[in-house]
């Protein structure tokens, strides 16, 4: 069964159209990343699914319920980590987590959860004394404390230092092994690539590409980038295409059929006893694909 089904959802704020007909489906147990730049519409979509915002058109089902009317039954099964905020400064970390746990029919063990997000040393500290990253980790704990089936993470690691980010990634991976469905938003390509089973790229309120980290934007069909130097003094005019006629210290080209292009290139070099210095063959990164997609959409 699908955990989330979104069909032709439209969201407008006055004259601004934040979502123009978004459709997607997320399977149970899937980690799904909504990847897009600031203002793309990620928070608008996620908050419609959480029941925080109304939609102007389209239908939505979250665990089979409409979030606008799902009420307590739905909220007992979802965990929400908002893009920002939501903490009472005068409570301690453990008080905040323990209190939130009492709202759910089942809860994760509290101290274990606090350790899981790396706040065991801050357990009895007032929330107002925490750093930004520590608060974020507490918010993460609050989203998980009710042991939800479906977890929404709106930019969960924005503002984290690299080690805190790795720790949060480990946490998401651990949740995946428990069979939880996770919808996370991010504007970090590496985060989507590291965590998600599937990624949708969103720009200007539209899904512009959808796929696994490996296939996103037909990445598997795009060629690789080949780069090398020739230190020997030979004519480069008769190199095979697409390298022929390239000039500069480094010769660099994107090839369509990697195997055939390399065969032709190395054949040319061996025949002339030329060394292809520093030869690298790099498949397109998700970042290349992502930036291309965003650029196409803007054009």
């Amino acid at each position: 069964m699908a955990a989330i089904v979104v069909d032709k959802v439209v969201k407008r704020y006055g004259g601004v159209t934040a979502l123009s007909g978004v459709s997607l489906a997320i399977a149970e147990g899937e980690v799904f990343a909504l990847l897009g730049p600031n203002g793309a519409g990620k928070t608008s979509l996620v908050e419609i699914l959480e029941g925080h915002r109304d939609r102007d058109a389209g239908t939505v089902a979250v665990l089979g319920m409409d979030p606008a009317t799902g009420g307590r039954a739905l909220r007992e099964r979802i965990g929400i980590v908002l893009q920002e905020g939501g903490l009472e400064g005068e409570l301690t970390v453990i008080e905040t987590v323990r209190y939130t746990a009492t709202l759910f029919p089942k809860a994760r063990p509290i101290e274990e959860l606090i350790a899981l997000v790396g706040l065991q040393e801050k357990m009895r500290a007032r929330v107002r004394t925490l750093s930004g990253g520590q608060r974020r980790r507490l918010e993460l704990a609050l989203g998980l404390v009710g042991d939800p089936d479906l977890i929404f993470l709106d930019e969960p690691t924005t503002g984290f230092d690299p080690s805190a980010r790795r720790q949060a990634w480990e946490l998401v991976r651990a949740l995946r092994t428990f069979g939880k469905t996770i919808l996370l938003t991010t504007h970090y390509m590496d985060e989507a690539q590291a965590l998600a089973d599937r990624i949708a790229v969103i720009a200007h309120g539209r899904i512009v590409a959808e796929g696994t980290p490996a296939t996103l934007g037909d990445r598997h069909r795009r060629g690789a980038r080949v780069r090398f130097r020739v230190m020997t003094d030979v004519s480069l005019q008769d190199m095979p295409p697409p390298f022929a006629g390239k000039i500069g210290a480094w010769i660099e080209a994107e090839v369509k059929d990697t195997t055939a292009a390399l065969h032709a290139l190395t054949g040319w070099a061996v025949a002339r006893r030329v060394e292809l210095d520093g030869l690298t063959v790099v498949p397109p990164t998700l970042e290349d694909v992502y930036l291309d997609l965003i650029a196409e959409q803007a054009a």
Binding site: E50, I80, L87, E88, G89, E90, T102, L103, F104, K106
Partner: protein, 273 residues
């Protein structure tokens, strides 16, 4: 796997709000300490003589009047400020995404506020009796209790309305103070009724609910009024709370309905950035 009962959720929310209150020195000061300081100042100033046309001692007038002030500070001033702070911090929004029903979240917060208001009243009256020989009349206590309930409900509704109207955290304390303090001076809270005051001032005060709260509550501690208080007419020195309760109920219901319509769970988008 069992769903927590509504009673447990409500008690949990009240307990949490009480804990937050205990850790908020400003709120605790204005609800519990400041009215007591005023009582000490006024009783010292007037030497606990008989004051004004009421013919009662300073403390007999000020203890109930300042008890009302403490209750209103809690249910109107603190509540509106706390509500807007929670909204700006995103607490309201986050709580709305948990299984806690929203009416239960608000109900817990209002009940905690009423509980603290009750403490403010009890502390004031106990100190009044203990230090200044304030007299309590048993036969008017039911009327005083009902007045307290209606008054706190009215001002809590208006506190929620201020929260709904206030644009942000910085604006709320000035709005709450500017609407409460001037009324305090003309509503028989800080200053006893005086024969020399211009009539229009009394008419203005009659329009707002604070004077009705003060009159109805203080009447229970008046040695000159008679009756239990459950009367519509104060003719012939009868203690009558019902007309005052009617005015407070009108303000409370009107303000409450408007607050429900205008209530926001999130800060305005501009302030999010």
């Amino acid at each position: 796997m069992k769903q927590p009962s509504l009673a447990r959720l409500l008690l949990g929310q009240i307990g949490l709000e009480n804990r937050i209150f205990r850790r908020s020195p400003t709120a605790a000061f204005f609800s519990l300490i400041f009215p007591l300081l005023m009582l000490l100042v006024f009783a010292t100033l007037f030497g606990n003589d008989r004051i004004g046309p009421l013919g009662v001692t300073a403390a007999q007038f000020y203890a109930p009047a300042l008890a009302v002030y403490g209750a209103v500070s809690t249910s109107y001033w603190n509540l509106s400020i706390h509500m807007v702070n929670s909204r700006e911090l995103g607490v309201l929004k986050r709580m709305r995404g948990t299984p806690l029903p929203t009416w239960m979240f608000l109900g817990g917060r209002l009940a905690s506020s009423a509980w603290i208001a009750l403490l403010a009243v009890l502390i004031m009256m106990v100190v009044g009796v203990w230090l200044y020989d304030v007299t309590i009349y048993v036969h008017t206590l039911p009327a005083a209790a009902l007045t307290f309930v209606v008054g706190v409900a009215c001002f809590a509704a208006l506190g929620c309305l201020v929260a709904a109207l206030s644009p942000n955290s910085n604006a709320t304390p000035p709005i709450a103070s500017a609407t409460l303090l001037p009324l305090g001076f003309i509503s028989e809270v800080f200053i006893p009724p005086s024969a020399s005051a211009p009539a229009w001032l009394g008419t203005v005060a009659d329009f707002f609910p604070l004077k009705h709260f003060a009159r109805a509550f203080s009447g229970a501690f008046s040695p000159t009024l008679h009756g239990s208080g459950f009367a519509w007419s104060d003719a012939g020195g009868t203690y009558a709370i019902l007309p005052h309760l009617a005015v407070m109920a009108a303000w409370g219901i009107g303000g409450g309905l408007l607050a429900v319509r205008l209530f926001r769970w999130e800060p305005r988008p501009e302030t999010v950035g």
